[in-house]
């Protein structure tokens, strides 16, 4: 991290001095194995230097900018928890008025996106601002100490959805945000996962090539909140995709246009087992067994409605995609 810089760095110079452009530097204060830190680095790498960022309150904002330090090499602004869609709208309106082509990125956590910032986001999409909104989905309010959000999966334990005699963790379903976003009929909306870097790059570049509002939901494990080892982040994220609980899909103008096929769907138990937040589902208890069945049914449902079952081994399916060489895909 460096002290907040006042010097002017020509963009071409930045490009020359680094093999790969880094928008988010190392040395920030995220927990080891933070999926969100990894995902944000990948997004900003793919986006390149001609962007500016509006960042919602949350872990990403906090761990990157303890005054007077900042891990960002990009123009970056944090205002509040729930106004990021509007803040980005204002930036974009200003750039448009000034005739500049700099792209605005908006970053928010699941709490800032699914819940409290949803109205501002919906307004931004409806008004057609030329902004890529990226939601780093770690399925709870992590920055305030792991409270449930509307993105928390059914049956997961958080500090406000504990398990006990009368409860098996969160009682409600994870909100289907991508469908709600797609219902705005924006040009492009997609889901991605911290386990699939080349897929993230491809989707960021696709989104940035589009003039208009685009949305990316990135599944970003939180070792602290999910209760898995920091070294397992990528593995846990990959299992979420491979079992069907977190399908990787692309939607254009509200229509499903592509999915990442599953070579062979893994049982959801394989995904749930390494995580403390689902530990109560592995007790000898009929309610636990029912919840496991329920979660398996949700994954099966996703596989069905999105047609995730692959046919042959595909180099871009859920087993092949992460082996694609870094930066290998050229889309935009």
């Amino acid at each position: 991290m460096s002290t907040v810089s006042e010097t002017t760095i020509p963009i071409a110079e930045l490009r020359r001095s680094q093999l790969r452009f880094r928008g988010l530097e190392a040395g920030h204060r995220a927990c080891q194995g933070c999926g969100q830190a990894l995902a944000a680095r990948l997004v900003t790498e793919a986006a390149g230097p001609d962007v500016m960022i509006a960042n919602a309150t949350g872990c990403l904002e906090i761990f990157t900018t303890p005054w007077p330090q900042s891990a960002w090499r990009l123009p970056w602004m944090h205002s509040l928890f729930e106004n990021t869609g509007a803040l980005a709208s204002g930036m974009e309106a200003a750039l448009k008025a000034q005739g500049k082509s700099t792209k605005v990125l908006a970053f928010g956590g699941d709490g800032g996106t699914f819940d409290i910032g949803f109205q501002a986001l919906s307004g931004m999409l409806e008004r057609g601002h030329n902004v890529l909104y990226v939601c780093y989905d770690n399925e709870a309010y992590m920055n305030t100490g792991i409270q449930r959000s509307s993105s928390t999966p059914h049956a997961a334990v958080t500090t406000t959805s504990p398990s006990g005699k009368a409860r098996m963790g969160k009682r409600h379903l994870k909100k289907d945000i991508i469908s709600i976003i797609a219902a705005h009929h924006i040009p492009y909306a997609a889901t991605a996962s911290a386990a699939y870097p080349s897929d993230i790059r491809k989707k960021v570049r696709r989104a940035l090539a589009i003039e208009g509002p685009t949305f990316l939901l990135i599944h970003s494990p939180c070792p602290l909140g999910w209760g898995h080892d920091g070294s397992q982040t990528v593995e846990v994220a990959r299992l979420a995709v491979q079992c069907g609980l977190f399908p990787l899909i692309e939607l254009e103008r509200g229509e499903l246009t592509s999915v990442m096929p599953l070579r062979s769907a893994r049982p959801v138990k394989d995904y749930l087992k390494p995580q403390q937040r689902f530990r109560h589902l592995f007790q000898d208890d009929t309610r636990a067994a029912q919840e496991l069945e329920h979660l398996q049914a949700l994954a099966d449902h996703n596989i069905e409605v999105y047609g995730l079952r692959g046919t042959n081994a595909d180099p871009l399916d859920s087993d092949g995609a992460d082996t694609v060489r870094r930066g290998g895909m050229r889309w935009a």
């Binding site: 303890p66 123009p75 509007a86 204002g90 309106a93």
Partner: protein, 390 residues
């Protein structure tokens, strides 16, 4: 040449003369006509700007924040519930030292629901860290709007121009709309040192730990205190250009040797000035218009009140369980004077209640007959309330 314009229409024209690049709009009575008129200017090609019709006041303020941070002059307007919905963003804009300008078309805050004028809304956000300027008539509101952009941009502080809802916003008056040349000569093109720019990336809105927080608050407070000079300079420079001057921080009007004074903010001033002519037999009194409520002009106020025996502070808001808001601050400022005048603090005209001319002699009589009134709602008819509530 004077034109007959509705207050809101005149404000829209004044804003357009300042060449904003982004305007964010959300409707609420009695502010709506302002943004409607701006939208029409944009639609007619008379104002070239990004008009962002947002989904809430919360977003209106946030759009302005993002736009200024990205390097554009930006404006919005609101009132009442809208101001309160914006509150969190208003603090944020000020704390980030963002030079934005907005109009508050002052209106009461529910409950009880009232669409009519008082100043509870802007008073509720008085501690947000914005400059707050209160206008007595529509010409002053027009001229203050233009001054506001220059003050904001020179001080890196946001400015809220407060004008009474309906009383001003919906009133048709003959007034001078300045020329584009006049405004261009007064207000340079927008420039903001801390603009977000990929060629020189900065991080704005970072986490500030206890090690730095107090210093950040101190510098914000002092920036507001220092802004007094820019408020005066803007009034003087604009006065030279336009021939119209409303005082800088405040304005005193009336006989030099008067022992009585009435201090107020906003359009009530016009009523009091008319009443003074209507009741020539009433005791001589100075009228003190408080134009700048934030920064609160302690020194200017002490000078204006030196020699008074009694000062009536009239306001259109209150802090329930506390009393008058302006009154309390005036008392504190005057307490430093050796012969501080007695302060009589009244609220009048709450929720749009008419303030009649004859309030003037009644106020003066009240100030002379009894000891100081800590605080009372002067025009509340207590006999209409159940016994226990009086």
């Amino acid at each position: 040449m004077p034109q007959a314009l509705e207050g809101s229409q005149a404000i829209a024209q004044a804003v357009a003369l300042c060449r904003p690049e982004v305007v964010a709009a959300y409707p609420i009575t009695p502010q709506t006509h302002i943004v409607e008129n701006i939208a029409k200017l944009v639609a007619d090609g008379k104002l070239n700007c990004e008009m962002v019709s947002v989904e809430s006041e919360f977003s209106a303020a946030s759009v302005v924040l993002g736009a200024v941070a990205a390097g554009s002059r930006a404006y919005t307007a609101s009132a009442s519930q809208g101001i309160l919905l914006m509150a969190e963003v208003l603090y944020n804009i000020a704390g980030l030292r963002i030079p934005a300008v907005m109009t508050c078309a002052n209106r009461a805050v529910a409950a009880p629901l009232s669409i009519w004028n008082d100043q509870q809304d802007s008073m509720a956000v008085r501690d947000a860290g914005w400059i707050q300027l209160y206008c007595a008539d529509n010409q002053e509101a027009v001229d203050t709007t233009i001054q506001a952009f220059r003050i904001a941009e020179r001080c890196e502080l946001p400015v809220m121009v407060c004008m009474d809802g309906f009383t001003l916003t919906h009133t048709l008056e003959p007034l001078e709309v300045p020329s584009q040349e006049q405004v261009d000569g007064f207000l340079p093109p927008f420039s903001f040192a801390r603009t977000l720019d990929p060629r020189s990336p900065i991080s704005v809105g970072t986490l500030v730990d206890p090690n730095y927080y107090s210093e950040a608050r101190h510098s914000h407070h002092h920036a507001l205190l220092r802004a007094q000079e820019e408020i005066i300079a803007a009034a003087d420079d604009w006065g030279q250009l336009s021939g119209r001057h409303y005082g800088g921080l405040l304005q005193v009007d009336g006989p030099e040797d008067a022992r009585l004074g009435i201090l107020t903010l906003g359009s009530v001033l016009g009523t009091l000035a008319d009443a003074r002519e209507e009741y020539p037999e009433a005791p001589a009194a100075k009228l003190i218009k408080l134009r700048s409520f934030r920064p609160f002009p302690v020194e200017a106020l002490q000078q204006a009140c030196a020699g008074l025996s009694d000062l009536i502070v009239l306001e259109r808001a209150l802090s329930p369980g506390g009393g008058g808001i302006v009154g309390a601050e005036v008392r504190a400022a005057l307490s430093e004077l050796p012969d501080a005048p007695r302060v009589h603090n009244f609220a009048v005209g709450l929720g749009g209640r008419d303030v009649p001319l004859d309030i003037y002699p009644r106020l003066l009589a009240a100030a002379q007959s009894s000891g100081p009134t800590r605080f009372a709602i002067f025009d509340a008819e207590l006999d209409r309330l159940p016994e226990g509530d009086r």
